[in-house]
């Protein structure tokens, strides 16, 4: 709070009083999160500039920015990003579809839960990267094995989220559906689906996060394109700035897709009665 006041009083014309200060605070408050990374970046820039470090292993922000701009200029960054984005998209969609369908079925029907869930839980406890050799044998070293690996990563959080959400739908609400004699399909469409939506969106976001994690692992396996390839390339050619530039690209893409997902689903969740509104 004091920081907000400080920065707003530091602004040139705040003599207008409360209203101006408040509207300014609205912009400054989210900006608080930038304070720490920006301060660290400036510190490192200065440290390299005055020669406390040669900055070879940890390049200063200016060099990273130049590398980023250079990669952008040659179009490399875009093509690598697109390749990675396409893999994540394909893997995410297939993982979400499988996770949603299986999660809904095992959540809804007790028999299929007893039948299928133990196997899936056992599979879940296997670190997904452990599948890589097998996937390469089965699906080759090209796109298929990568996308399947990503899909496996996305599958489990979505499956667990959907199953748990369906199972924990309030019996009292389901009874309302029964009183109005909804059919099985109607019950799913009008009661269960809307009831699980908030938990579903959370599991989608968790799945997307894992999707970005697994795309790196997949691209380490020997890709000729993609941000993961750029990472390996930077390592092999001893160019840490390229590595950091790729990491920054990952951060931007990951945050952007997550925000996109959150924004796209927000209109469906306006009814929620919850503690935190963001």
């Amino acid at each position: 709070m004091s920081l907000v006041l400080m920065s707003s009083s530091a602004a040139p014309d705040t003599a207008q009083g409360d209203a101006a200060r408040k509207s300014l605070a609205r912009f400054v408050r989210p900006g608080l999160g930038l304070l720490l990374p920006v301060a660290l970046a400036i510190f490192w820039e200065i440290a390299v500039y005055v020669g406390w470090s040669n900055g070879r292993l940890i390049p200063p922000p200016s060099i990273i920015f130049n590398t980023f701009a250079e990669l952008w200029g040659t179009g490399e960054l875009q093509s690598h990003s697109l390749a990675t984005l396409a893999r994540v998209a394909l893997g995410f969609v297939s993982g979400v579809v499988a996770g949603t369908v299986l999660g809904a079925i095992t959540g809804y029907s007790g028999l299929s839960h007893r039948l299928v869930d133990p196997t899936l839980q056992a599979l879940r406890s296997i670190p997904s990267i452990a599948w890589v050799p097998l996937f390469i044998l089965w699906f080759g070293i090209f796109e298929a094995s990568k996308i399947i690996l990503i899909a496996v990563g996305v599958f489990f959080p979505v499956y667990l989220g959907v199953m748990g959400a369906v199972m924990s739908v309030d019996r009292k609400i389901v009874e309302v559906g029964r009183v109005f004699r909804l059919s099985g399909f109607e019950m799913v469409r009008r009661i269960l689906l809307p009831a699980v939506l908030p938990a579903y969106v959370l599991s989608l976001r968790a799945g997307l996060g894992l999707g970005w994690m697994f795309v790196v692992a997949a691209e380490f396996l020997g890709a000729s394109q993609g941000l993961g390839f750029l990472l390996i390339d930077g390592q092999q050619l001893g160019k840490p700035a390229t590595i950091v530039a790729a990491i920054v690209a990952f951060a931007i893409l990951g945050k952007a897709t997550d925000t996109l997902l959150a924004v796209a689903t927000a209109p469906f969740l306006r009814w929620e009665d919850r503690f935190a509104r963001t």
Binding site: K172, V176, R178, V179, R190, R270, W271, D273
Partner: protein, 263 residues
């Protein structure tokens, strides 16, 4: 006519919640079921609604056995149970989904006006007070014009003022189409304000203890001597049902000559 024919419910763990309850309710009659906790009054109501199956006997509506929720039987629970993702209007119209849009909107608007919540049609349920939410639940149950409306302690979660208000409101709504009402309650005042007949149940297992006809004209004055007299009769029956003949509430000796004065 709603008929409960020796309805009994034994839970899978062997607990006998309700045993051989027979009640006949005429169309348009208001019956209140009162009893101590655990006397199976809610279990009985759930059996009538078709949400649960009785293990013995059967429930008949106009001669048809009720084994599952029925179009002509509506229910209002203790909690409003509104669907939080639907606006108030959509909640009220939930049971009219198969009707044409125009008819649905007209009936929802009319019902919302009857419960005095026209201005809340577009808001989310989270923005309603407890009393308003229960009014919406009433509207949702009544908009399909059921022959029988079951109410399971419908106002017990509300404060005293709102409760009295909603009791009067319920009678007002009942006047529109005169459905059969079966109200489960533990509030003796509520039972006497609403009901033509008060059924007192005895616990462990739930059985009928007594039936008291409340023959007072409506609207009923909660402060009148006749009201008080009816209340004492119900309280006395309740005491008997719980096997405590000499409790403070049992002023049957007083009401014995009180009864003479009344008659």
């Amino acid at each position: 006519m709603l008929v409960l024919n020796r309805v009994g419910k034994t839970y899978p763990n062997g607990v006998r919640a309700v045993d051989g309850v027979s009640i006949e309710v005429e169309l348009g009659e208001i019956v209140a079921i009162v009893g101590g906790s655990g006397c199976g009054k809610s279990t009985l109501l759930r059996a009538v609604s078709g949400l649960d199956q009785p293990t013995h006997g059967q429930v008949l509506l106009d001669g048809i056995p009720i084994n599952a929720p029925h179009e002509q039987i509506g229910i209002v629970f203790q909690e409003p149970r509104l669907l939080p993702w639907l606006t108030v209007a959509d909640n009220v119209g939930f049971g009219l989904d198969h009707r044409p849009k125009e008819e649905r909107e007209r009936r929802v608007a009319a019902q919302l006006e009857r419960v005095g919540l026209t201005d809340k049609a577009k808001v989310w349920p989270r923005e309603l007070s407890g009393g308003q939410a229960q009014r919406v639940a009433l509207a949702r149950a009544l908009v399909t014009r059921p022959e029988v409306l079951l109410l399971d302690e419908p106002f017990s979660a509300l404060d005293a003022f709102t409760r009295v208000d909603l009791q009067d409101h319920l009678l007002d709504l009942w006047n529109d189409t005169k459905p059969t009402l079966v109200v489960v309650t533990h509030d003796v005042d509520e039972a006497i304000v609403l009901a033509d007949r008060v059924v007192v149940m005895r616990p462990h297992p739930g059985r009928l203890e007594d039936e008291i006809v409340i023959d007072l004209p409506r609207p009923r004055d909660r402060q009148s001597a006749a009201f008080d007299f009816a209340k004492r009769r119900v309280l006395a029956a309740l005491d008997r049902s719980l096997g405590r003949a000499a409790s403070v509430d049992d002023r049957e000796t007083q009401t014995a000559h009180g009864a003479q004065m009344w008659w």
